[in-house]
């Protein structure tokens, strides 16, 4: 087992390295001269050269890449050694000169809040809707729930976001325009702030999960072991909960791991629409402004989360499915 995990972590590191390299190359080739960018207006050639030196932009590509890579683990220094960036060093933003690592850690809680809140909502609503639909197939509940779910997966996130904002904020004036609020400052306002992003995200995911749950439960209810459970005279609720639902949810758990991992990397569009100061919005902003260190860091973070999510999925399978967990006799 330990060997397996070691192998997976090894593969993960390799993958991350490749993503890193690939991204670095692309931006190295495509990005306009960072020195010019940082310098901004009123620039002099001298200043540009100095910046280039400080950032090591005059070095050959491989050296630059190596410096970047090692910087993540051991930190690096800029210029004459006066600027020390301690590990993990992801550089400094071209726009704001902030340490990128700090920018990420500052914004990660926001994205995490969005992800967790939405996840709770969509798991509860999606799974229960799907379960009820499966148990009451072809009734009006089933049909309407599935129609709603169909709409939910077809409508773009940003349309829902804007619609919701229009209805709740502009027309009904139930909620204020989203603004950054710390939970410690005002729980009520904090909740109101996150409510719409939560609703928007969970609507889409909930639809997916409802459809999936419905399909899976319908499948498991048709299994022979459910028939056995009924033949034993078990109460209906117990049959459903223990023998139909549990096997149906196992594939969902693995899908959820991937979805959640992806969401932690920042719900780019939702954060942008609602003006939330999370990793996603930072990514969107940095791209339009060509802020290379930030783009790199965000890409790495997202890839890291996805790869970890993959490993979690593997482990989950082992945990949840006894057939995988133990060798057969």
């Amino acid at each position: 087992m330990a060997r397996y995990i070691a192998g997976r972590i090894g593969a993960m590191i390799l993958l991350l390295f490749l993503v890193c390299l690939f991204t670095y190359v692309i931006f190295f080739v495509l990005s306009p001269d960072p020195a010019v960018q940082i310098c901004g207006k009123n620039c002099t050639p001298d200043r540009i050269n100095q910046i280039r030196e400080n950032l090591g932009l005059d070095q050959p590509f491989l050296t630059q890449f190596w410096t970047f890579l090692s910087g993540i683990f051991v930190g690096r220094t800029y210029g004459d050694g006066s600027i020390v960036c301690s590990a993990p060093c992801l550089g400094y933003s071209f726009q704001s000169s902030e340490p990128v690592w700090d920018m990420i850690t500052a914004r990660l809680p926001v994205s995490a809040t969005v992800a967790v809140g939405a996840a709770v909502l969509w798991l509860l609503s999606g799974i229960s809707a799907g379960l009820i639909s499966a148990l009451k197939q072809r009734t009006w509940w089933d049909r309407s729930a599935m129609v709603v779910a169909l709409g939910g997966i077809s409508i773009p996130n940003y349309v829902v976001a804007l619609l919701l904002q229009y209805v709740l904020v502009v027309k009904l004036k139930l909620l204020p325009f989203p603004q950054p609020v710390k939970f410690t400052d005002s729980p009520g306002l904090w909740f109101e702030n996150y409510l719409m992003p939560w609703l928007v995200l969970s609507f889409a995911y909930s639809s997916v999960y409802a459809r999936l749950t419905r399909a899976n439960v319908i499948d498991t209810m048709a299994e022979n072991y459910v028939r056995t459970a009924r033949a034993k005279g078990l109460a209906n609720a117990l049959v459903i909960r223990r023998h139909a639902l549990r096997p149906a949810l196992t594939p969902l758990a693995t899908i959820f791991a991937m979805d959640f991992a992806g969401l932690l990397g920042g719900a780019l569009i939702t954060e942008t629409v609602f003006g939330l100061n999370g990793v996603g919005k930072m990514a969107a902003d940095s791209i339009t402004k060509n802020d290379q260190p930030v783009i790199m860091a965000v890409t790495l973070l997202a890839a890291f989360l996805v790869i970890v999510g993959n490993i979690v999925v593997d482990l989950l399978y082992g945990l949840l499915d006894p057939r995988v967990r133990t060798a057969s006799a």
Partner: protein
Amino acid sequence: MNRQSVQPSPVEQGSPDQQALLEVADLTVSFPTPQGISTVVADLGFTLEPGASLGIVGESGSGKSMTSLAIMGLLPPSATRTGSIKLSGTELTTLSESGMRQLRGNTMSMIFQDPLSSLNPYYTIGLQITEAYRAHHPHVSRRELRKIAVDALDRVHIPRARERIDHYPHQFSGGMRQRVMIAMALCTEPDLLIADEPTTALDVTVQAQILELIAELRAETGTGLIMITHDLAVVAQVADQVVVMQHGDCVEQGSAQAVFSAPQHPYTDALLEAVPRIDDDIEDLRQVQRPAGPSSNRTVPGGSVSTGKEPRV
């Protein structure tokens, strides 16, 4: 519709005026299909005395499995069931669902053909046994339940029962799994055990063991048995009475001895003829001939009527 019924001979397990364990009369099961109403069991009737054994024989699609599901009340919701089914005098067809649930797994139990798919892979067999017991004896302690599960496995001769309680179905071999199913079915000491092709998915040698086991346990507990099978050899070994089904009809019934030695119906005859004998010429391998004439019964949607060449044990 050809039907010839021989008077079922009384089985000497109880006094003649003892109440029958199971009385089935005019049982009809039908399904709606795109092509119309399909009748899978038509006017079936038989009586089973306490502790006796009945074999229901037929090819795939003859309606024998549907009969067992009808008795247990486990038919799919789209099915229509009419007739009378009395278990020790209680009319099952008018019983509420909760009433049926009290009987299922308690007074009458069922085991199925494929033990692998019939056991939930996500739970230990210990749990699956104890939940059967607990459903009908809710106030039993955990320790007691565990003991019951261990005892159940012991009774079906699974070694190292205490350890194997915590194993999962995929960790058992096919024959062992069927033993587990039997243990699960019998742990509540039911009056009636319905076995739907319990040995079909197993090796021949394991088949014999399972049949022996069932016989042994029946001798201990006096449980009645309905054995559903397409294998005449199994019926011969196990059943006191036989019901032969074809296309949903009962074409012959009676004591096993009578039916096998002097079959009255051409179909039964054909079934027996189809069993290859070791001293036959190879050219004599026969298929079961369809009796000529229209049949108003249709086969079960999706079921296939196979030509049976039952292997002789």
